[in-house]
């Protein structure tokens, strides 16, 4: 089976400034890839290249033909005064399923309703999305990302603004979806990364791929992902999943 996403020796950035360099990566079906790395290390740049939002300076990007994307941008810079309701926002995630000049399919709209109920934003579906709280808005945008049942779901910091309880609900939904689609998730939360993802990519200008989901401080040091930058606070404060191999700290 052909890989879903293949990157070969990609250089990319903004305004001629290289932010990521010589990146090669492949993502298979049903992969759940956690993308970690320091701020400014190029995590968002990498996913924007994959999404086709930035053209790489160099290298080859291959996406399996006909693949649909779902995308949750980082802390949405959305105009909070823009006249759009929660429902309209969610449904705009169905545009990839819709033909031009046609209306949305009924089963798609039903799926939108179901997802809004699951993420507890159904009751506020008529309200302007800009008037929701940060957490509710984040859930509305998550709905928009998932609603089309994409082949590749790309999430840039899905847990920002969301409280702990909702956060674990979201991850439950993600694990469910993962049987149907590949997920790429940028996150600062290493605890979350190590308990949910299947593989890890550490991006700090270049990319280091780690099969499996255990994060060890040794691996972080070795691959120039400074531990203190990707974790909130000093190491002992954060409990990672127990390392079967004896825990190398």
């Amino acid at each position: 089976m052909e890989d879903l996403i293949t990157l070969e020796n990609i250089d990319a950035g903004y305004n001629g400034v290289k932010i990521i360099e010589n990146i090669s990566l492949s993502v298979k079906e049903n992969d759940f890839l956690g993308i970690i790395g320091p701020n400014g290390g190029g995590k968002s740049t990498l996913i924007k290249v994959i999404l086709g939002l930035i053209k790489p300076y160099k290298g080859k990007l291959k996406i399996r033909k006909g693949s649909k994307f779902g995308y949750l941008p980082q802390f949405t810079s959305a105009d909070r005064k823009f006249p759009i309701s929660v429902q309209e926002t969610v449904v705009s995630g169905l545009l990839s399923n819709k033909r031009l000049f046609r209306s949305f399919a009924k089963k798609d709209l039903e799926n939108a309703e179901l997802l809004m109920k699951k993420l507890e934003i159904f009751d506020m579906r008529k309200e302007p999305v800009g008037e929701l709280s940060g957490g509710q808005m984040q859930r509305a945008f998550l709905c928009r990302a998932m609603v089309s049942n994409p082949d590749i779901l790309v999430l840039d910091e899905p847990n920002s603004f969301v409280d702990k309880g909702t956060s674990s609900d979201i991850y439950k939904i993600l694990l469910e979806l993962n049987s149907k689609m590949a997920i790429l998730m940028v996150s600062h939360d290493t605890g979350v990364i190590s308990s949910y993802v299947k593989n890890i990519a550490c991006v700090n200008k270049t990319l280091h791929y780690h099969p499996g989901s255990d994060i060890t401080s040794q691996m972080l040091d070795k691959y120039s992902c400074p531990v203190e930058l990707i974790m909130h606070g000093p190491l002992p404060h954060r409990v990672l999943r127990t390392h079967q191999n004896g825990g190398k700290k």
């Binding site: 949405t76 759009i84 309209e88 449904v91 705009s92 995630g93 990839s96």
Partner: protein
Amino acid sequence: MIEILQYPFFLKALLTALMTSILCGLIGSYIVSRRIVFIGGGITHTSFGGIGLGYYLGINPVITAAVFGVLSAIGIKAASDKADIREDSAIGIFWALGMALGIIFIYLTPGYAPDLMTYLFGNILMVSMTDIYIITGLSIIASAVFYFLFNEIHAIAFDEEFAKTQGIRVNLINYTLISLVALTIVFNIKVVGIILVMSLLTIPQTAASVITKNFRTMIFLSIIIAVISSFSGLVISYYFNIPSGASIIFSSVVIFVIIKLFYNLRRKKQ
């Protein structure tokens, strides 16, 4: 009141006002919610260069203005998308260039430009049947575009980057709409003039957005508010013998203020 309805020129003005209101209600709602009012200003003033060129060449200035308007719209977008010039700077440059060209062409044209004032301040009573046909045609096109592409337009206006990831033809739709914006502006210059044209595209829409947060409702409401302000503006213009463009804008501002005060009072009571 009844007697002015007997004059054909007044009926023609009412028809123009109706078509202009539909067109500006649609296009203006897009401009206001997308926050591209300043782009509209740039297009308006660049098209003055076209008016000058029309005089200089001895052809209908509206045609050359339309060409200038559309080219400046595309130019502003392309300059910020592709040439990496900040959008507001690009607007400033086009704005000034258009005005400068207009002045140069009018200066070079021998004789006096007789109805230059019409283009600066507008006169709905001077609108020809051809102008009415064009504005009506444009209203039909704009209505069709919004009817068939409503979801796409709405999504792109809200979050362009997301829309791109969904395989929507974002650039095609953006350039179509910005061209419609340019044509709307240019063909309304005769109605209210360069100096006032942006007001038809912003005041009714801003008033509508006080009442509703729904994009569809906002479009309908701004059309209604525009119709009321242009009809009442025309009547005021007739009875007080003042320029119609200015009186239309004046009544739309009055309506806006009334709506805003009413809603502020209502919110305080709640």
